[in-house]
Symmetry: C2
Subunit: 157 residues, 2 copies
């Protein structure tokens, strides 16, 4: 099984890169994991939100392969405890999907097209985070999920 | 008004220090804010959880001044949206408390004594995080709360 975190735009601030890289490194002990970024169309800042979301949807869809199981990380999604998320991941490990793709939306969220195509949504918190924070948040929870699945102690730092 | 984030143990991993410091720096534009750490008794690792929690409670209580308004950051607490948290902070800004103290518990949570003394609990997510992550998480949300209160754009990076 392979897990992909699909994001809009790169992680360009050093203070975010280091902790995210740390969890990506830790995750490699457990699974094939990568963060993939699609362009965030920064040059076209005057674009309307709906136009931007449609452009982002197009870029997202290009990254999805047939047979992928997709979750949107979205505030309208279902909340999970860390144990709950680990159970979900475990189910996929014995399931048929080759790739599980978690997607973090752009500044204005997802287009309607994306919501219709991918009905599975996970909410990480009732609070709103910066996109960079969501990346770190997710990587830490995914790492935690694998420590739970493998009954390994969690490195609490 | 002064805001304090009270934690058990220091932030000793560089990859956590940088993003946390970034938000502490940003928060200084809005309020008097500091992170205060009490010893995490690392030397006494063989201590029972209850004993450790009692020791931590003692250290926590030494840091609390009369008139402080205290919130425990605790998974059993009430969930807030980012807007909800900003409203809470705004209420305190026009309230009587000189200091608002948010406390992150130790590895085993809080002792019963602390729960009884400080009934106000805030849950950041249904998920469990490392203590370092909770620090960053909280600082980012506090910064976001102040950008909401001041109607400032949020620096989404």
């Amino acid at each position: 099984m392979e897990i992909v975190l699909l994001c809009i735009g790169k992680t360009d601030r050093t203070f975010w890169v280091d902790p995210i890289e740390e969890y990506v490194k830790r995750l490699k002990h457990y699974t094939k994991f990568s963060i993939q970024c699609v362009n965030d169309n920064k040059v076209q800042k005057k674009m309307q939100p709906s136009e931007l979301k449609n452009k982002e949807a197009k870029s997202i869809l290009q990254k999805i392969k047939p047979g992928d199981f997709v979750y949107l990380l979205d505030e309208k999604g279902k909340s999970f405890s860390s144990n709950g998320l680990s159970k979900k991941i475990e189910q996929h490990m014995i399931g048929a999907s080759q790739r599980i793709v978690f997607i973090i939306g752009g500044a204005y969220g997802f287009s309607e097209k994306i919501y219709l195509k991918f009905p599975n949504k996970i909410s990480l918190s009732d609070m709103t985070f910066s996109h960079q924070m969501v990346r770190l948040f997710f990587c830490e929870q995914l790492y935690r999920a694998f420590t739970i699945i493998n009954k390994h102690p969690y490195h609490n730092s």
